[in-house]
């Protein structure tokens, strides 16, 4: 289609989209209107339904209810192939490129126009597209040789080569260095200047302000508001995104914190990609205290807890547990000394196909009464499981049931039960209630408060700001591997926290426990 004047014609309209998964409603009558030629930001916390809504538009999911309109026509989209035919392209967070092939081969891969590889005819077209939009990349380079930013440009080229007019980008800056991110924004500007439309999924407020023309905020599967970027500000967006209405308080007994249990000093950890994930971070957690780490996921949370649990090498700094340096201590020793860990990815700590009973002994199978010299004591295994099932009210047909058959809340309860029954001096907990309903969330929260009352030091990582604020005695905000500021239960300020999460504010003088880089 060639448009005369793209202003005020809608490239995409999603109306009343509902997408349910077993136990969750990912999109709950979500609406989205995107104008032709604009950069439209889709803003929301993790799990707000942004990606799921875009997967509906791209034909990966089929909506249970709702209408999709593209360029003024109502359409049904069965597959990404249909979406591309309609001129819609999507670039996922994880790039889908063949690492050992060249840029050119990746761009034309999968096109059905000709039997033989159309290399000769493709080259000039690719070079022309690259020139037009400022996509600097060598067509003969192999993908594995390219940086994340360059790989992303290949993905954009792929979409443009297929004649895409509406480009969806899922968290496009999450893998990029700041310099590369800036360059991407320039490219997107050039694309919209040429009449293309960009939908930009993000949870970074600054990016919304910097790049988008309009922004739609999503929360809990619903579209909350659509605003002209020029007429809003970071503060308003933060409030819309987090939703201050639902903040509620828990019964929290006063506990006087005891001695420091965990001390982290100038810790540096790198991510799987080899990039710095935790940067000169220092913190302290005392007995009988919950230290919350708030922040958008992917800002070093996972690397931080894994380093403390001993599952990830440390590239600098020290971890002290009960006054002893455990930086180089193997994971098993840390478990034995009393570090419990409930990871954000539950299946990292459970074996789905194994029974509840066998999952409950993962931490104590090697020592009495469960493990004897060579054999496992079957009776002790059974008693242990039954005790936990009873004490923590885990709802399961019996202890032999494969743990994957339990509900999400019960799986999480079982996992917490296993870690808590060890009576750890330090409990690391990440995203304890993600994906759980209100009832299950409440139980889990109360279990964590019980741990605190018992005198455990709890380090709580949560994307969910409500949760972090409700449970924490102190709350530190993590952004790009650094602590931006720290609050006590009395000084917590939603606005400031929101800004810190987005990297837009940094506490000038942090408390000594959250020290500045040395």
């Amino acid at each position: 289609m060639t448009s005369a004047k793209p202003e005020h014609t809608l490239a995409v309209a999603l109306r009343g989209i509902v997408k349910r998964f077993p136990g969750v409603t990912a999109n709950d009558r979500a609406n989205l209107e995107v104008r032709r030629g604009e950069i439209h930001a889709l803003l929301g916390e993790n799990g707000a339904g942004k990606t799921s809504l875009m997967n509906v538009l791209y034909g990966i999911y089929h909506p249970d209810e709702g209408e999709i309109w593209v360029k003024g026509r109502r359409v049904t989209i069965h597959s990404p192939h249909d979406a591309i035919t309609l001129g819609i392209g999507m670039i996922h967070q994880q790039f889908r490129l063949v690492q050992t092939h060249t840029v050119l081969e990746n761009v034309i891969l999968g096109l059905r126009e000709r039997f033989f590889f159309p290399e000769q005819s493709a080259r000039p077209r690719i070079l022309a597209l690259a020139e037009k939009y400022g996509l600097k990349v060598d067509p003969d380079a192999r993908i594995w040789q390219l940086s994340a930013g360059e790989q992303q440009r290949v993905e954009i080229l792929k979409a443009l080569y297929r004649g895409v007019e509406i480009l969806i980008m899922d968290e496009p800056t999450s893998m990029l260095t700041p310099g590369e991110a800036l360059e991407l924004l320039h490219i997107l500007r050039r694309m919209t200047a040429e009449g293309l439309t960009v939908i930009f999924i993000t949870h970074k407020l600054e990016e919304v302000m910097e790049v988008s023309d309009r922004v739609t905020v999503m929360r809990a599967g619903k579209s909350i508001a659509t605003l002209e970027t020029a007429q809003t500000n970071v503060r308003e967006l933060a409030q819309l995104m987090v939703g201050r209405d639902v903040l509620f308080r828990l019964e929290k007994k006063a506990v006087t914190p005891g001695a420091p249990v965990l001390k982290v000093e100038n810790l540096n950890v790198v991510s799987d990609k080899g990039l710095p994930a935790v940067v000169n971070l220092s913190l302290e957690v005392r007995a009988g205290e919950i230290l919350g780490i708030a922040g958008v996921s992917g800002n070093g949370q996972r690397e931080l807890v894994e380093a403390i649990a001993g599952l990830r090498p440390v590239s600098g700094g020290k971890i002290l547990f009960q006054g002893e340096d455990v930086t180089q201590t193997p994971p098993r020793m840390r478990i034995e000394r009393g570090i419990g860990f409930v990871p954000g990815e539950r299946w990292m700590a459970l074996i789905p196909s194994m029974s509840v009973a066998e999952n409950m002994i993962l931490k104590n199978y090697a020592r009495p009464p469960i493990g004897r010299k060579v054999f496992l004591d079957a009776e002790a295994v059974a008693t242990h499981a039954d005790t936990l099932i009873r004490e923590y009210a885990i709802s399961t047909p019996n202890r032999q049931t494969p743990i994957k058959r339990l509900s999400g809340g019960n799986i999480q309860r079982a996992l917490l039960a296993r870690e808590m029954t060890e009576r750890p001096a330090l409990l690391l907990v990440a995203q304890p209630t993600s994906g759980l309903d209100v009832g299950a969330t409440e139980t889990i929260w109360n279990l964590l408060l019980e741990e605190r009352a018992r005198g455990a030091a709890v380090l709580l990582i949560s994307d969910d700001l409500k949760e972090a604020m409700a449970l924490s005695d102190r709350l530190a905000v993590l952004f790009e591997g650094q602590i931006m500021g720290e609050f006590t239960a009395q000084t917590m300020d939603l606005e400031k926290i929101g800004l810190m999460m987005a990297g837009a504010l940094r506490q000038p003088t942090a408390e000594p426990t959250a020290g500045e880089p040395a």
Partner: protein, 357 residues
């Protein structure tokens, strides 16, 4: 655009009967496929199946041959259930079998005058060690350098084949063999006792049954077995729990290689009484053992049964080769088709197909 299309989706839950059902359907489809192959060879499939069954199980001679052939299958197959449970894809049992045979022969050559009650146990130990040693190469490459064990264990099969050939054509060729590439016959003390009237070297059979039971107990009752299962099912969880992945990987490879080595020892000391070229020692026992293990759904006790079934298939296959004048590869095709369908049917325990408009 509106053509119906098949989609593969992950199952959210799976009923208890599903694994048995998918295995049954897989086997039936395998039989149908083999039937088609027989038909294209101009043989009535029903006749062929009947002949195979009668050949393997329908007479005393057939049965004792089946038991004989199931001994190496059982030993190697039981070992593979352990390796696969620990997520070490050892597909080189055939090579470990060969090295076990070489070691057993080497011990006979070293101590030819020892009495049987010393020599045979020494040969069993030697066979086990030989197989374990061969399997330790892919295991160490995997744990030290992350080299894929599937590839290395397979490639080492051919190295082992050549090693056997080198020995029987070269330094170990016998003096009274009239030029044949075989060693001299072992002294009587190095012969495994045989059930009268059969070829069943029952000591090895008892060892195989004991191995199945021990591996079962190891997997289900011991701390180490728990570590093996956790590592196999979810390596990340094993790491999380502080388990030593290298220890598990090395141990399951050593044990599975050792059991394959025992199988090789059993063949030279219970059937041939000498070392012979690889194709004479084994019709691919080490490879067929992979099917034994998968068909048993990696349960070592069930592997005793599947070893017996596949032993029968080997015997029945020999029978139809002669009776129906079929090529020697027929049985291998049969085996290959079964393995393909059994492994493919595993997919349906976790995924389902859905037809969309």
């Amino acid at each position: 655009m509106n053509l119906p299309s098949l989609r593969i989706e992950k199952r959210l839950s799976s009923p208890r009967w599903l694994p048995a059902a998918s295995l049954t359907v897989g086997l039936l489809l395998a039989l149908v496929t083999v039937a088609v192959i027989f038909a294209t060879l101009g043989v009535d499939p029903l006749t062929a199946f009947q002949r195979i069954f009668r050949g393997g199980f329908g007479s005393f001679y057939g049965l004792q041959e089946t038991v004989t052939k199931s001994i190496p299958l059982m030993l190697a197959g039981v070992g593979l259930t352990l390796a696969f449970r620990g997520r070490m894809y050892n597909i080189g049992a055939e090579g470990q079998f060969m090295i076990g045979a070489i070691f057993a022969t080497g011990i006979v050559r070293l101590f030819p005058t020892w009495p049987g009650f010393l020599l045979l146990p020494a040969m069993f130990v030697g066979g086990f060690l030989g197989g374990a040693l061969w399997a330790s190469i892919p295991a160490l490459l995997k744990t030290r350098f992350r080299v894929d064990e599937t590839l290395t264990s397979l490639m080492l099969v051919y190295v082992a084949y050549e090693a056997v050939k080198f020995l029987v054509y070269g330094p170990w060729r016998g003096s009274d063999t009239r030029g044949f590439p075989i060693t001299d016959e072992f002294p009587a003390a190095a012969h495994i006792p045989i059930l009268p009237g059969t070829r069943v070297h029952y000591v090895t059979l008892l060892l195989a049954i004991a191995a199945a039971i021990l591996v079962y107990l190891l997997l289900t009752r011991t701390k180490l077995g728990y570590e093996i299962r956790v590592t196999g099912e979810n390596p990340e969880a094993a790491r999380y729990a502080g388990m030593d992945y290298r220890k598990v990987a090395l141990l399951v490879m050593l044990i599975s290689g050792g059991l394959a080595g025992l199988a090789g020892m059993g063949e030279v000391a219970g059937i041939h009484f000498r070392l012979r070229p690889p194709e004479a020692l084994s019709p691919g026992y080490g490879f067929t053992a992979i099917i034994v293990a998968w068909l048993a759904r990696l349960n070592p006790l069930a592997a005793m049964l599947t070893a017996f079934l596949l032993g029968g298939l080997l015997v029945g296959g020999d029978a139809i080769q002669i009776a129906l004048n079929l090529p020697a590869a027929t049985v291998q095709i049969f085996n290959g088709v079964i393995l393909l369908f059994v492994i493919a049917s595993e997919l349906f325990n976790q995924y389902r197909l859905r037809l969309e408009r």
